[in-house]
Structures are given as C-alpha cells and as structure tokens.
C-alpha cells in the first residue's frame, strides 16, 4: 500500500522501506540529521500507515472500558490518552491512543501491523449500541514534532484552534479541509498530529512542508521516528511489547488502572503485580559506537540474562542506546552488563529512561 504522498516523497528524495504492508519513507536526507532536527527545530512526518478505528454510539465507552487498561471516565470530550489493550493472561494485545471526539465518538489510533487483530479483538467484545469502524485506509496523518511545531501550526490554523495543553484535540480547517489537531506524538518532544481525510493529505503536507521550511523544519522518515522514540524510552509493539509481555514487565503500570471494576487481563495483571515478575524492561547505554540490536543477548558473568529489543545510535545524546528485557536481579540502574552483538561484545550499563530528557512544552 502507498499513501497519496508516495510520488511526492520520491521527488523529495525519500529512501522507501516496507512497513506493515505500506511503502513509507525510511529517510530523506539521513536518519541522524532528521532526528537532530526534531530536537532543534521540527520534523514533519507522514504517518498515514497508522491504524485508525472509530468507536461510535452510546455503548462505545462501555466496550472500550472493558478492553483498555485506563479509566475511560477520565477521558473527557476533546481529550486523549495513551493506553494498552491486554489479553486475559495480561499479555499486551496492542498499545494505542484513544481520542474522544464527542460524547459518543472515539478514535483509536493503533499500530499499523495490528489493525486486523485489533478489529477482531474489539468486535469480539462489542455490544449493541456500539459501532466499530475501520478508518485506516481513509484517514491520513501528518505529525509535526519539535520545538518549532507550534510556530509552524500557528501559520496553518488560527492560534486559538491549537490545543493549549498536551493530550488534547481540536477541530480545525487547513486549506479548506477539515482536520483534527491533536497535541500528541511519539518523539518525547513537543508536537502535534494532524488527522485528515486521506484525500486531503497532499494539500496538508504541502502546506506543512512549505511553512515548515521557514522554520528550518525537515521532512522525516520512519528511521528518525524510531530513533526519537527510543531516545524518549517509548516502547514499540513487536519490539518491547507483545502478547507474551505484561504491563508489569514492560513497566507500563502508569497506564493500568487497577481501581477499575474490571477489564480484560485485570486479574492476571493484579496477580503478577503482587507476586512480582522475573524480567523487566530496562534502558541500556553501551560504550562507544557499539549498538545493541533486537535479538542480541545481554550477558552477566558470561551468562545470558536478557535480550535487547531495540537499539540505535542517538545523535542527540551521542551515545549508543538500547532497550531490552533483563532478569529482575540484574535490572538495577547502574548495573554493568555485556551486549553480545553480531560481531562484538559491548560494555553497557543499565540506565533510567528516557535517554533524552522529555520536554513536551513547545
């Protein structure tokens, strides 16, 4: 699949990659340059591959309340929340952003690779009075992320339409097209996401990149997005998250509300939390340019005690950074470990996350 921007991206020099069935830009000028630009000025991303699922109707909130780990009562109209959906055994089915567009309409933004699975999962739990609509193919998404993102957006829409706080949404109009502006993102910096009709994607992209130019913003690919989310310590599905990993192990209990009456996976998660888990998600910094890669073993005293799930070189802290799962007894911050890469053994230590200070105010 291709977004309507495919030709334009090729013209802009994009190096394309396949991701979840979509041909998307990996990078334009270079992953490192783009990841730096998002911290210094701004980056503009086409993220139209993401999955969007509408939940409509008076019973929608009840269906979601059973499926997600956050308390739906806390998501008022015009607000957004990061959440998980878990299975009965507590494993993570997907992570998602929930937007409440109106009293009885929610938009779920899910991982592109999980759209089909999520739709089946939600359908299996739906009741009368709730419609579940796959809008993935008809919804376009452009993210503007970085300290200049607010300035860029203020040239595109009236300032009063820009959400004033994080995790808020507003309706707006860009070049005659109706859009939803969300103050959300996956970079750990300030930024906005513009949801639009796929048919309006090209005109909104052109507007964003043209205005972005004046702010020294650059178009960014999925390569920079991955670097930025690792710098922010954010997990990625199929790397840090899967159906065999629980929110306790992933250290995502801040989005699990155990005070809720019930939700799928609650009993299992509660039990895990009181009994404790054997492995935990950690951040690692390795010496020099020795980058841990997904699948690499983490060693202590020559013995494998964990595995790397993501790794990259961070151009913003100029260090080799990684995430992984490690036996609890070796998970203390400061612990020294080795990462066994394809060709080397890297000295590394366990560190707190985020790697790059998350500052969401623009």
């Amino acid at each position: 699949m291709r977004t309507p921007l495919y030709e334009e991206q090729l013209r802009m020099g994009a190096k394309m990659t396949e991701f979840a069935g979509w041909e998307m830009p990996m990078y334009y000028s270079g992953i490192m340059d783009e990841a730096r630009a998002v911290r210094r000025t701004a980056g503009i991303f086409d993220l139209s591959h993401m999955g969007e699922i509408g939940v409509i109707g008076s019973m929608g909130v009840a269906v979601l309340d059973i499926l997600v780990t956050v308390d739906m009562c806390k998501i008022g109209v015009g607000r957004a929340a990061y959440s998980l959906m878990c299975g009965e055994s507590g494993g993570i089915v997907d992570d998602l952003i929930i937007y409440r567009k109106s009293e009885n309409e929610y938009l779920l933004v899910v991982n592109a690779s999980n759209v089909k699975k999520d739709l089946e999962w939600i359908d299996a739990h739906k009741t009368d009075g709730a419609d579940i609509v796959d809008r993935s193919q008809s919804t376009g998404l452009i993210a503007i992320q970085g300290p200049k993102s607010r300035g860029i957006l203020a040239e595109m829409i009236p300032a009063e339409h820009i959400p004033a706080q994080r995790f808020r949404i507003n309706d707006a109009s860009i070049a005659g097209a109706n859009v939803m502006i969300a103050s959300t993102g996956y970079t750990g910096g300030p930024g906005y996401e513009i949801y639009c009709r796929m048919d309006d994607l090209v005109s909104i992209w052109n507007s964003a990149t043209e205005i972005g130019n004046q702010f020294e913003a650059v178009p960014c690919g999925l390569g920079a997005r991955d670097v930025l989310r690792i710098e922010a310590g954010y997990p990625l599905y199929d790397h840090e998250l899967s159906e065999s990993i629980s929110p306790v192990e992933a250290r995502l209990m801040w989005v699990v509300d155990l005070r809720k009456n019930s939700f799928v996976g609650k009993a299992a998660i509660q039990m895990q939390q009181s009994a404790g888990v054997d492995r935990l998600r950690v951040g690692l910094i390795s010496e020099g340019k020795c980058i841990g890669r997904a699948g690499n073993d983490i060693l202590v005293d020559g013995r494998p005690v964990g595995v790397i799930t993501s790794g990259t070189f961070s151009p913003n802290i100029e260090s080799s950074i990684a995430m992984g799962y490690i036996d609890k007894e070796h998970s203390d911050i400061g612990a020294e470990v080795l990462i066994e890469t394809k060709n080397r053994r890297c000295n590394a230590r366990i560190v707190g996350m985020p790697f790059y200070p998350v500052t969401v105010e623009g």
Partner: protein, 126 residues
C-alpha cells in the same frame, strides 16, 4: 549511476584496480540501503584474505553488515580515517569512503566481478 572505471560484487563492494593492487569500498547503493553509517571495523595491514572472506563490518543506525573481500590478497593499506569519520562512507562512497587496499594474489578473480552496467541491472533486479 555507478562509476564506469570500477568493478562490482553481488555483495555491493566496488573494486578500483591499479596495477597489481585493488582498492575496495562499498557502493552508493549499499550506503543508501544501510542509512547513516556510524561505525566501520577494518582489518589490520598484513592480513591475508581469500575472495569472499569477511574483512570487516559496517554498522549503520539500522543494521550491521559484513564486508566481503572481492578478490584474494594481502592488505597493504586501510583507511585509517573511517573509525573517526564513518559518515564519509555515506557522503563519498567512491572516494574518501574507501576501505582497504589489497595486493592481489589471484588477479584472475577480477574476471568474476561485474561491470558498472552489469551491476546497475543487478541492483534493479534485486
């Protein structure tokens, strides 16, 4: 476009022949596939390679890739600047991004390499 005066391997190395010596690097196509190169590991001068041997690794933000010897020979020079400035592999893959120079022991092996035209169609097919 690939420089016409070089020869190419299926593993995306290039070879510049100068008498009995061969300079080796990776192609523009290879560096674009790898993305930003952050680390290059090269062998020591004096190492003896057979065609197809792994002589080093090139590591990018995305992945690690082995470097394969296009021909057999003894290494007479390595690009000492690469460990400190790996980005030149992206910027100038055919010039300052060169990796090793070999004293060829079996120059006949050059016949098995591809011309620029052959390499061009090879990367179009793959």
């Amino acid at each position: 476009m690939q420089p016409k005066d070089l020869m190419y391997t299926r593993s995306h190395e290039w070879v510049r022949v100068n008498g009995g010596k061969a300079i080796v690097g990776i192609t523009d196509h290879a560096q674009a596939e790898l993305g930003d190169v952050v680390y290059v590991e090269l062998p020591k001068v004096g190492a003896v390679l057979s065609k197809g041997d792994v002589f080093g690794t090139v590591e990018s933000v995305k992945t690690v890739s082995d470097l394969l010897a296009p021909v057999s020979g003894e290494i007479v020079q390595v690009n000492e600047k690469l460990p400190d400035t790996p980005e030149v592999v992206n910027e100038e893959p055919y010039d300052s991004g060169w990796m090793i120079e070999l004293n060829m022991s079996k120059p006949d092996e050059l016949g098995e390499l591809m011309s620029s035209e052959q390499y061009e169609s090879f990367i179009e097919e793959h």
